[in-house]
Symmetry: none
Subunit: 228 residues, 4 copies
Amino acid sequence: MASAATSKTATAGRRTAKSARPGQHRLRADALRNRERIIATAREALVEYGAEIPLDEIARRAGVGNATIYRHFANRRELIHHVTLSVMSRIAEQAESALAEESDAFLALRRFVHAAADERIGALCPLLSDSLDKEHPDLIAARDRLAAGIDALMGAARASGRLRTDIGVGDLMVALTQLTRPLPGNGCVDFDIFVHRHLQLFLDGLSAPARSELPGSPATLEDLQQRQ
Amino acid sequence: MASAATSKTATAGRRTAKSARPGQHRLRADALRNRERIIATAREALVEYGAEIPLDEIARRAGVGNATIYRHFANRRELIHHVTLSVMSRIAEQAESALAEESDAFLALRRFVHAAADERIGALCPLLSDSLDKEHPDLIAARDRLAAGIDALMGAARASGRLRTDIGVGDLMVALTQLTRPLPGNGCVDFDIFVHRHLQLFLDGLSAPARSELPGSPATLEDLQQRQ
Amino acid sequence: MASAATSKTATAGRRTAKSARPGQHRLRADALRNRERIIATAREALVEYGAEIPLDEIARRAGVGNATIYRHFANRRELIHHVTLSVMSRIAEQAESALAEESDAFLALRRFVHAAADERIGALCPLLSDSLDKEHPDLIAARDRLAAGIDALMGAARASGRLRTDIGVGDLMVALTQLTRPLPGNGCVDFDIFVHRHLQLFLDGLSAPARSELPGSPATLEDLQQRQ
Amino acid sequence: MASAATSKTATAGRRTAKSARPGQHRLRADALRNRERIIATAREALVEYGAEIPLDEIARRAGVGNATIYRHFANRRELIHHVTLSVMSRIAEQAESALAEESDAFLALRRFVHAAADERIGALCPLLSDSLDKEHPDLIAARDRLAAGIDALMGAARASGRLRTDIGVGDLMVALTQLTRPLPGNGCVDFDIFVHRHLQLFLDGLSAPARSELPGSPATLEDLQQRQ
DNA sequence: CATGAATGAGTCTTCATTCAT
DNA sequence: GATGAATGAAGACTCATTCAT
């Protein structure tokens, strides 16, 4: 699968740019495995435990020492950054494949929304939290790819006359993120069952014709990230 | 303003049951003022800062010493408990007055939803977080009152044929809570502008006739609190 | 005794300006005692153990909990800052009293040099280390006071014809600091005995007439702090 | 260049006596080159960065992997040990060649003092720090050679009537070390300019006739290493 | 032999909670 | 009753040292 993590910028750490992985420096196979495992574990742990999960706990779950996390990610912020990139990338794929594979545009949108939930989009608050460096080129690239994917989905659905016209990508993303956010502190696994109900309700609200007039105006992803 | 905090059970704090305030022991006027101020400050601070706000910060904002919080609430958990009660109470009032004052039942529901958002319902995840003692009689009472209020609202809206019939109080409450939850770490005050758009979309999804079939089944508030 | 710690600047911590102690906020007696004890303990501990001494060790020696240090000083850097101020202030007093009380100007200078050593001037590398915020007004004030005191001493000694004329305050301060610096890692208490020999030798080198031509040019304290 | 590192005793590293390199086991050429490079890099890095420099940083500067350091030196302590030996050896050479090449004995001493500073004698606190195993035969041998060299220098200078008679080798070594010690944490390269001023002043203090009476008594190098 | 990677122990710092005025 | 101060128990992060390629 295409990875959004190809463009790179060294974050010039004082000693070594741990997380910047320029093309010339291939990771050892086991290290790469660890790296991916840490990201995947962090994604799930964030969902189960909440955003304040200790890195030590992530390390424990991933079966590595705590310092191994720091070999791969300079600090908590950077780990979150990469988890965000990973999730955004996976979700972007979902958007793209939904559009490619579904003939009914609104069904494609619906499929995407539920798939994004399953991909733990809510684990991240990725577009809003201030714990991300929103200037980071990788994040911008991932955001743009995702925005493009969703835009295409929404555009097709709108073109088919099934999607109301007064909403933007940002509206969908924020609501989707919020509706699927994990509860803090406990593993509400069975909470998922609910989530899909609410997403479905929200999708019904997105259907054309619009049943009410919305306050404010449609939001792009850029809008979201700019609000402090 | 009716307070849900009159029936009491001491939760046997380590040394003294500070927070249990049996009716016989009227607080001094200034102490009561402090108590209310702490709760109100905590509510707002939770919204602005996020769930991990230090108690010292709440104390600072409330203009009291940190130990004063402990005079009123045995620990953080108990403070959150009371903030939750306060918010639930205020929201219940909103439900009740919306029903009483609006002639159009669906409009009443809509008014309630937006009012609940303004009351910071999302600051607390009041029904779900495991940082609450869900057995606590006060909480149960508050929940029941709130459930009754929303039930009445939804019943009326359903009766008027404007609300779809496959959703329960729990569905509304969870979605409402999630959609209005503050972002962690930063004061997204202007985020509010968005929230009402999403609530409106969700309300449109709630309208009859149902535009799709929902997975799962309608949830009550009891359901919610039993999970986990 | 006059304290250099009267002018203040809040270092605008995120939450509370712990270390800024504006005049309006008198410390409780016990807290002030702790504060002074921490500074004094840190001064001695720095001498005995070296600059890398853990704060926990300082806390232990001071008989307080580790967090108490942080109540008084936002971080390690700030503690060092205040220790530095304290030592500079004490040394400035030594300079002033030596000048005031000794009739022989060169003897006054000599007395000062040995007294500064006893005040642990070397514990700090106070003028040079980059672990200080050299822009800080308190530090500048302390430096200026100290420079003035030493300048007066040296000026008098020079005027009496006993001090060579090709050296500046900075020269004396640096050499004094270096010659009295504690060794890293071990408590060389009896090392002190040596130090005074070397200071004496250095003082002999400072005497007029100059016995050689020096490379470079006389240094002020400002010079020193600007390097690096 | 004569190396003091030929007589050896294995200091029984935990697993293998990595650093003991008995004569029979000639290092491969590249390994020897690495070893020397590590020592040289460590010497400079200690000067620029301070005593707390991480081994990883030394490895990075030396252009080797961190583990390579451990292949050559069992632990940090041992690396420091060898850097110390290296510096002492280089300084001893300076003493010997100064004596051999200068006709004026005091000039020879002066030349030596400045040369020792350029050899980074101060980087190591070589005679005093407790991070050395002062019992180690190599260190004793190096110390003895150095002491002999300086003794000869001082003896000649004393014989020429230019050096005061109340000071010992230890006095010179300690003062020299202290006056040239690098500041912690920052690369004060231009600090060197000062150092030679202070050394010159100190040398002037060493000149005969003595201008004052010194406290204590002359110190040998043995004295220094025995304290603590 | 050389190296990148992994790790546990240690340090700094924060915060809920308790203590003393 | 109220407060500032004190504290120990985490959590983030670093680094000497060990392991596996």
